[in-house]
Symmetry: C2
Subunit: 458 residues, 2 copies
């Protein structure tokens, strides 16, 4: 039975598609070779991280990143480069936060950072008894018992899940909804264990939401490092009356004007069919935004550069989009889709890279059965590059609004094991990114988009 | 045709093997869960790197590592733990090396390190003109033209090869044979570009050989960092008469007594069939030997610990071997195989982990067709853990001597992209290893050995 399968696979790959297979395989090899030997992604990332740095929506650095992106795309000799205006939330952290556990033996300083969107504490900070919980649901059950207290959400990410994104998905509800729910029952603050699978002292920021909570009832919320979370939990076991102090200065300013940065290689045969590749240009403010998502930005730019360098003239129009504001609002992604709809642009394919610049393992596809079947016929082309994951489901926050019944949205899936070591922390810097791994990702993206451009969708 | 394949695969995996498949899949899940949630590999690695450190054969640290390995294996409740004596080469680096380029504008200090096995320079160091070459073959062609000069081997590793081990294989001949061949034609020293795909300032040591060169004709040899190699090459382009100076103090002492450390879980049904899992306990001296090969050591120990923890009593005898002296002689591997042969022990399977503690991608197998066919039937069991590579060819330096016509030798293949960032350098420290990635590797090894233990070989 086994041999029969081999024979069938052999027939499929070497007879049925032999002409195209050979051409595609050669083209893909060129993309990888050029990316690894003469790639530009790492040089771009070095500039974006070291010369610009963290670039939260609405900040001066975000504006610098927009100008840099436009300038670099203009150098590539694309058919069009433009800025698409979009209004974005504007939240600022302000002065560094401080926090300590008030233990019997004295104060224990701990590492925290305000969550994105949180209000400040009152001037003198917040001091209160702590109630440790595992979930938002538990707070709903406790109800009024949390009144006057600081709620401490301490459910760890689940380490035995192989894809760390699944572990994130299972824990991040505490961060997003924790303050809203605790505030509803009169808590005075919410402290959330960092979304981190390691034990270390870097707190992880990230977006939270108050929903429709009136301003006066919004309570301040911060992430605490995993090591500090364990320390706080230990102290609470020793003494359930342990109090906690924290102070933060963040504020939400009026929405600010910003831009998506867009470049286009116009298609030779089907210029009205659009293929998008992108990542997000904004980042959190604690570090340089290297893995999240400088990597996706420079990989997306590299896709178009590889097409140009290799002299590949696309049949369809390929757009690179440097989306603004994925981290706290996704206004850039929404605006891009809104304009595309208004202009009746037919977006057949969109690829997002927003899971880090680690060794690429494959893709996750949101598509109908016919398109997925076509995609699977391309799998052998990626075998030499150790790209094995062709999963169903996936895409990304920025391209999500482009979904329709026929098109294909998909996300690059790099190795996920170390992503949450860096994600939204002070160590998401250039040094966290391997040049080779980044370049392999860019080549993998270019190769898949080349196939979509050549064969279209079903 | 496609559907037919799916049906066949479905039949193979869900009907033919259904009973065993379910049991195996459950057992494998337990190995992964335990390794990720309650693993011991990282704790062991922390001790081996931070409390012992670099452990070159013949050193006091290598002896400490032997004693530690024996003690830890004894704690696991195995059936036997013992030390197997073996004589090993004993080379010492001595004082730190120094080197500079003598450029027109003055001295440019550069980072070098003596290659393992090299002789020292004479007391005042070596100063000479430099001749840059790309290969040993080029030196053979130059012949007497290298007399009195320092030969500078500067062929980079080939960055467009996807598996970095292939790039290493294509470049390491310069390091191993460079001094021998240059010395034959009267060169006074050999400087070799580090085996590194990055540009940085860490020189990479590694073993070299003089073959049967008489002592008096042995010339000193060192690795130079990739950044410094580029600098030297630039200077030579500016001025072909540029001279180079280097000084090193290394020496080869008489062979020293040492040990392989061995632990055994004796088989319940086929105690005379042996399955080996191992890595090498020795390391280079510049750092802590974390990726190379502390990772392989603790993963191998973890395999037996997982068997014990999971209450899995093997049918065959499973041995963990902490091999001594892989780096500069492989005397431990040779001795183990020699004794096995003398005792007529039937070694049916051996697995080596010596490619770093990165995210596991699969294995490379050296086996006959029948065994490889059996191995492929196990592939679907590894899909949930993103283990996709089941390549032919592979094993390792330490288990190689165990090869016979029937047995299966194989090596763990972790992601290789960052391995040569650390390999044989001053930064191969605990911080280079991700706890999760290490643990995933250990679970992957345990799972495959469980299958070999359960089903035997063909």
């Amino acid at each position: 039975m086994k041999n029969l399968i081999y024979i069938l696979i052999f027939l499929m790959t070497s007879v049925g598609f032999s002409q195209d297979y050979k051409q595609d395989s050669t083209q893909i090899k060129h993309f990888y070779n050029t990316s690894l030997l003469n790639g530009k992604s790492y040089e771009w990332l070095t500039h974006l991280t070291k010369n610009i740095g963290g670039r939260l929506s609405g900040s001066a650095n975000a504006q610098k990143a927009v100008e840099w992106g436009q300038k670099e795309l203009e150098k590539l000799g694309l058919n069009k480069v433009w800025l698409q205006p979009v209004m974005v939330p504007h939240w600022e952290r302000g002065e560094k936060e401080e926090a300590f556990i008030i233990a019997k033996k004295g104060r224990i300083s701990v590492a925290i950072c305000a969550l994105g969107g949180s209000v400040a504490t009152k001037k003198g900070g917040v001091t209160a008894q702590v109630i440790e919980v595992q979930s938002v649901k538990e707070v709903e059950a406790l109800g009024e018992k949390v009144r006057g207290k600081i709620v401490f959400y301490n459910r760890p990410m689940q380490a035995d899940l192989i894809k760390t994104g699944h572990a994130y998905g299972g824990a991040v509800g505490q961060r997003y909804n924790g303050a809203r729910v605790a505030g509803k029952y009169g808590a005075v603050g919410a402290i959330v264990r960092s979304m981190n699978l390691r034990l270390d002292d870097y707190p992880h920021t990230g977006v939270m939401s108050y929903g429709d909570t009136p301003d006066a009832q919004k309570i301040p919320t911060a992430a605490i490092s995993t090591l500090a979370a364990n320390k706080l939990s230990e102290q609470l076991k020793l003494n359930p009356d342990t109090r906690f102090y924290f102070k933060q200065h963040c504020e939400t300013l009026p929405d600010a004007p910003s831009f998506n940065v867009i470049g286009e290689l116009t298609g030779s045969t089907f210029p009205d069919e659009y293929i998008v590749v992108g990542g997000h240009l904004d980042s959190w403010d604690l570090a340089e935004g290297a893995q999240d998502d400088g990597a996706g930005i420079v990989q997306s730019m590299e896709v178009l550069r590889l097409f140009k360098t290799e002299g590949y003239r696309p049949k369809r129009s390929i757009r690179v989009v440097l989306f603004m504001n994925e981290e706290n609002g996704s206004m850039g992604g929404k605006e891009y889709a809104k304009v595309a709809l208004e202009r009746k642009e037919n977006h057949i394919v969109a690829l997002e890279s927003d899971a880090g610049g680690f060794t690429p393992r494959g893709f996750g596809f949101t598509s109908n059965d016919a398109n997925y079947a076509q995609i699977l016929t391309w799998k052998p082309l990626f075998e030499p590059y150790l790209i094995h994951v062709f999963a169903r489901g996936g895409g990304g926050a920025d391209i999500g609004p482009l979904k329709n019944d026929n098109n294909v949205l998909f996300g690059l899936q790099p190795d996920s094991q170390r992503y949450f070591d860096y994600h939204h922390t002070a160590i998401d810097n250039l040094e966290a990114v391997s040049k080779r791994e980044l370049e392999l990702g860019a080549a993998t993206m270019a190769s898949m988009l080349y196939l979509f451009d050549k064969y279209g969708i079903k």
